[in-house]
């Protein structure tokens, strides 16, 4: 499955995802500039991304934990998600997203 990422400089990257990983893990392992300080337990907001609108409905919604961690993120939009909370699945093949400012 493919993941299309725009980094903070506007460069586009096409990454190979796998359905055993979270979105954060794929971004991190591709050495994109994503801090993911807490390692993926939804205890910080350093893996903040903006998901392209048409993909938002395909992802399971935010739980309270994620919504409340997003309070520590900067410039939160309706498309804001913490990438560690998104488990990849085949129906997300081709998902497009952008790294949020840090």
């Amino acid at each position: 499955m493919k993941i299309k990422v725009t980094d903070r400089e506007g460069n586009k990257h096409e990454l190979e995802g796998d359905t055993n990983s979270t979105l954060m893990e794929v971004l991190r392992d591709a050495n994109l500039d994503i801090e993911a300080a807490c390692g993926g337990c939804c205890a910080c907001a350093t893996c903040h991304v903006y998901i392209k609108d048409e993909w938002l409905d395909k992802i399971s919604g935010k739980d309270d934990d994620e919504e409340s961690m997003l309070d520590q993120a900067f410039d939160v939009k309706h498309s804001s998600r913490l990438s560690c909370q998104i488990s990849l699945s085949e129906d997300l093949d081709g998902i497009e997203l952008e790294l949020a400012p840090e």
Binding site: E35, A37, C38, G39, C41, A43, C44, A45, T46, E67, S68, L70, D71, Q72, A73, F74, D75, V76, P101, E102
Partner: protein, 337 residues
């Protein structure tokens, strides 16, 4: 005054705390320095309530429980904690000991330094807008050091956590406070939230729904904060901006100590976990070696091996007799007293 000890541990996270215990078993005393106001590092700061499942013998333990137990385990060895401060500078003396200076101007002297600093020190997360450096600490305050500076001033506080709410409630007594948050729900303790809502109701503070879009310096020493809420933008002129976006981790001054680094990690050998500088060790998430796994349990192992080498520096003329904690009478006296 310089306080003397055997070993200075930098970082009071789980691995730093267990290092106190391992060193204590070998009669080596410790002082521990941490930038946070409490021991526990990431375990206590980021995920105190979250369960950890890979601590041997603990089927499940929270970050805070692990911290509490490690503190209890280290207690018989009387460690001295220096919290709320960062190590700024280290200097080697001719007698092969180290002087460590902290951001609180504390000076400590020791034979060894153990860096157990995890991903670095926790520092306030700054607003990711360029060219704000000249306002930092002047008009944009990430921490309040001197309340009197804010007396009768117009202040914008941003955030929805404990720091934002506590300062809103506190500063409402002396200043004209607006609290801004992206939603009208708050992570802060319920008590602080109801206090804040009461203040808002009594018009003692203003609450504003929105986020920072941009910041500009304006005339008369004021700050223009451009606030957006969905597509709507408004300008807010204030004396001070207090953003509370949580904490992030930074390597900080350690990067300048002349240690061999591998990006933001400190290279060590896997026999003694010593750095490229003798008598300085690095254990836990901050070190790098082939096969390294960033697990708390790896850090515990590293602490035990590091302690063996520290013994040689602390007691050069003594032989270290290997003893199990189950059979050593000396240890039982110490641990049960």
């Amino acid at each position: 005054m310089i306080e003397k000890t055997d070993v200075i541990v930098i970082g009071a996270g789980p691995v730093g705390l267990f290092a106190i215990f391992e060193l204590g078993l070998l009669n080596i005393s410790c002082h521990v320095i941490d930038n946070l106001d409490k021991p526990g590092g990431q375990c206590a700061e980021l995920y105190p309530e979250k369960p950890i499942y890979d601590i041997p013998s603990r089927v499940k333990i929270t970050g805070q429980q692990l911290t509490d137990d490690l503190l209890a385990q280290a207690k018989p060895f009387n460690p001295v904690y220096h919290l709320n401060q960062q190590v700024e500078k280290i200097t080697k003396l001719e007698i092969n000991e180290w002087i460590v200076e902290t951001s609180n101007n504390k000076k400590l002297q020791a034979k060894c330094i153990v860096i157990a600093a995890g991903a670095g020190s926790f520092v306030p997360r700054k607003i990711p807008i360029e060219n704000l450096d000249n306002l930092d600490g002047k008009k944009i305050l990430y921490a309040v050091r001197n309340k009197s500076l804010l007396e009768n001033k117009k202040i914008l506080i941003v955030g929805g956590g404990d720091s934002a709410l506590d300062w809103t409630n506190e500063l409402s007594k002396i200043a004209d406070v607006t609290l801004m948050h992206r939603r009208k729900e708050f992570r802060a303790a319920p008590d602080s939230v109801s206090k804040m809502l009461e203040l808002e109701n009594d018009k003692k503070i203003n609450f504003l729904l929105g986020q920072i879009d941009n910041i500009e310096e304006s005339k008369n020493d004021k700050l223009k904060v451009i606030v957006k809420n969905n597509e709507e933008k408004i300008d807010l002129e204030v004396d001070y901006l207090l953003p509370f976006f949580g904490l992030k981790m930074e390597l900080g001054p350690i990067a300048n100590w002349g240690l061999n680094l591998d990006e933001n990690l400190i290279k060590v050998d896997t026999e003694k976990f010593e750095t490229s500088v003798s008598s300085i060790f690095a254990i836990g998430d901050i070190n790098a070696y082939p096969g390294k796994l960033k697990l708390i349990l790896s850090g515990f192992h590293e602490a035990a091996l590091m302690a063996q080498q520290c013994f040689k520096y602390c007691y050069p003329d003594k032989k270290n007799v290997f003893r199990y904690t189950t059979s050593s009478k000396d240890l039982h006296k110490k641990l049960n007293s």
